[in-house]
Symmetry: C2
Subunit: 339 residues, 2 copies
């Protein structure tokens, strides 16, 4: 790889979204005098009587959680999308709006309040993966739903309001922005090449090696060439699957293994429970041909230098483009060392 | 305006970027149990001997600031863009990168360490506006520079590492993502209608009234129909100017008045020094025809419910699309009341 990329300001192209990220490798030495995040290294109990996600406890709306033993899914009590709202659209000159229907769910990953995915066994994570598969399939069958977004916000700094290990699913009646961009880019490439964009990219990464963190028989964990967040990572299936419902049991186990590896490495990096938002991008459930889709899971962690200093995506990033200091190659090197 | 927009989940279209925002008006009642931001209501001295932006003090690189009396501009000591880097590009299969040159500057708005734009007189803000005009013009003349991004990060929660009132300018050799999107949308509209997209939008807003916060002879302050941040606002010149260098002296004074009004109202909302990132989007300095450009200034403030509870743009927002709870109309109503 050109050494220029390690020394000089440049931009890199995200083949999946068609957008650029500004990289400033020379800037990593900037001193930090700004806000420090609070880190909680508090030990949590396995059951917290005041936690509305713990087994057997009562939620704000009065419903009682079952005494669940592995994974527990329920419909979000404060869903951002409504399933029973009227269909309408506004086309009033330059005021343009459309109703959006959807179903939002919460998934508790474990009854153990003290754990995160990083502390769970691979077989327990596999149960989470299987739940994602079931939810993707059943929500995708609803006639109202065209896309199922699975994600997790981990850590208070990522807006997570409850440390109990859990994720969310927001499924909705149209494709959201980020998915629409990836849909377009993958389709253009597939139509031209009759191969998967991400699959061809993965082959190139496996040859280059420098951004690979880990691989097993079915999955590769890597820092994408165009990563935005300092330690952003991506889990990519070696075979081109459109969505997670297509995984066999052994592939699900290997997916769980990949999640386990990256989350453990993250926790080691700054010796803290590493915050991030993660999400799975996969084929829409819109009944169209989605042969161009190659699903993948991404992790966007905010920390930059330590457990308390994060990267801020503010002024320039909001008005111009995302910007990063350490390069993808440096980040991959540091994470690989910790495996 | 359709009452559906105040009651049901929907998405609104941003005519300037071509992207959508998800709005969940019914969700504003969600209880908050997550992270609270620290607010500093500390009184700062007018001069802080340890501040590297105060007049007469020495910066980290050993340079001494002059004893400036209003505005002071210098080249960023830790610039994200380099002006003297080699030109190169990487076109290695699906690894695509390009060198990016640029010049980054810091602008101290006032020698008074204790102030923010909200506390400054309109005539002092006008000096800031005039400096922006000069910098836009002189940086724009550099052959290497195609775009000049003026912005401010205010408050620790917005990654601002020094409370001394200041903003930044990152100017660079290509158009960043957000500017490129607005360039496309404005051009399409202008070519079709021979009028300014934002000008026509503004006429519609002035008739609708419900999202207007304030206006003077030359400027309107409003919450855009497609606002993402809870109290996002925009300052739009009534006349279509491509960039800020085209303002007369009295127009600059009215622009300063508009900035003064919105920042003061912000500070009143939650009785705190209101954090935000602001930025000016205007015509590129690429020597092309930019008749389709209608410059504007936007404020993206993170606070949602109080001085300590912000909106998190995380999981769904990162993987799907931006999402907001209170509507643009509700936000405009609340800010207008405080004028
Ligand atoms: O340049 P500063 O103020 O040190 O840094 C701040 O603004 C920059 C431009 O928005 C961001 O890249 C940084 O993450 C932020 O901390
Ligand atoms: O749904 P939660 O966990 O209460 O809320 C969190 O995740 C949501 C989806 O990313 C965001 O919209 C909220 O801003 C964030 O605080």
């Amino acid at each position: 790889m050109s050494t220029n990329l390690q020394d000089y300001s440049h931009k890199r192209f995200n083949i999946l979204t068609g957008e650029w990220v500004l990289v400033s490798p020379h800037r990593a030495k900037r001193p930090w005098q700004g806000q420090n995040e609070a880190i909680s290294n508090e030990q949590r109990p396995a059951h917290d009587p005041s936690c509305y996600l713990c087994a057997g406890n009562t939620r704000i709306n009065g419903e009682q959680n079952p005494v669940y033993e592995d994974v527990f899914v329920f419909t979000n009590d404060f869903a951002a999308l409504q399933s029973d709202s009227p269909e309408f659209s506004v086309n009033d000159g330059l005021f343009i709006a459309k109703s959006e229907q959807g179903i939002c769910k919460v998934i508790c990953f474990s009854p153990d309040h003290s754990k995160s995915l990083a502390d769970m066994s691979v077989s327990s994570i596999q149960k989470v993966v299987e739940t994602w598969q079931q939810e993707y399939t059943s929500l995708g069958k609803e006639s109202m739903i065209q896309y199922v977004q699975i994600f997790e916000n981990k850590g208070a700094v990522m807006g997570c309001s409850n440390p109990h290990p859990h994720g969310q699913i927001w499924s909705q009646s149209t494709l959201p922005n980020e998915v629409a961009k990836k849909d377009v880019q993958q389709k253009i490439y597939y139509n031209e090449n009759k191969t998967s964009l991400l699959g061809d990219y993965l082959s190139q990464e496996l040859k280059a090696k420098e951004r690979i963190i880990y691989q097993n028989d079915d999955f590769v964990v890597l820092i994408p060439f165009w990563a935005v967040w300092p330690f952003e990572a991506m889990i990519v299936p070696k075979q081109q699957f459109e969505n997670i419902s297509q995984l066999s049991e052994s592939e699900s186990a290997n997916f769980a293994d990949a999640i386990s590896k990256i989350t453990k490495v993250y926790d080691k990096l700054f010796q803290c429970s590493f915050p991030y938002s993660s999400g799975i991008h996969q084929s829409p459930t819109n009944g169209k041909s989605n042969k161009h889709w190659h699903w993948h899971m991404s992790f966007y962690p905010p920390l930059l230098r330590s457990a308390t200093v994060k990267k801020f995506m503010v002024g320039y990033e909001m008005f111009g483009s995302p910007q990063r200091d350490i390069t993808a190659e440096q980040a991959a090197f540091r994470l690989r060392e910790l495996l």
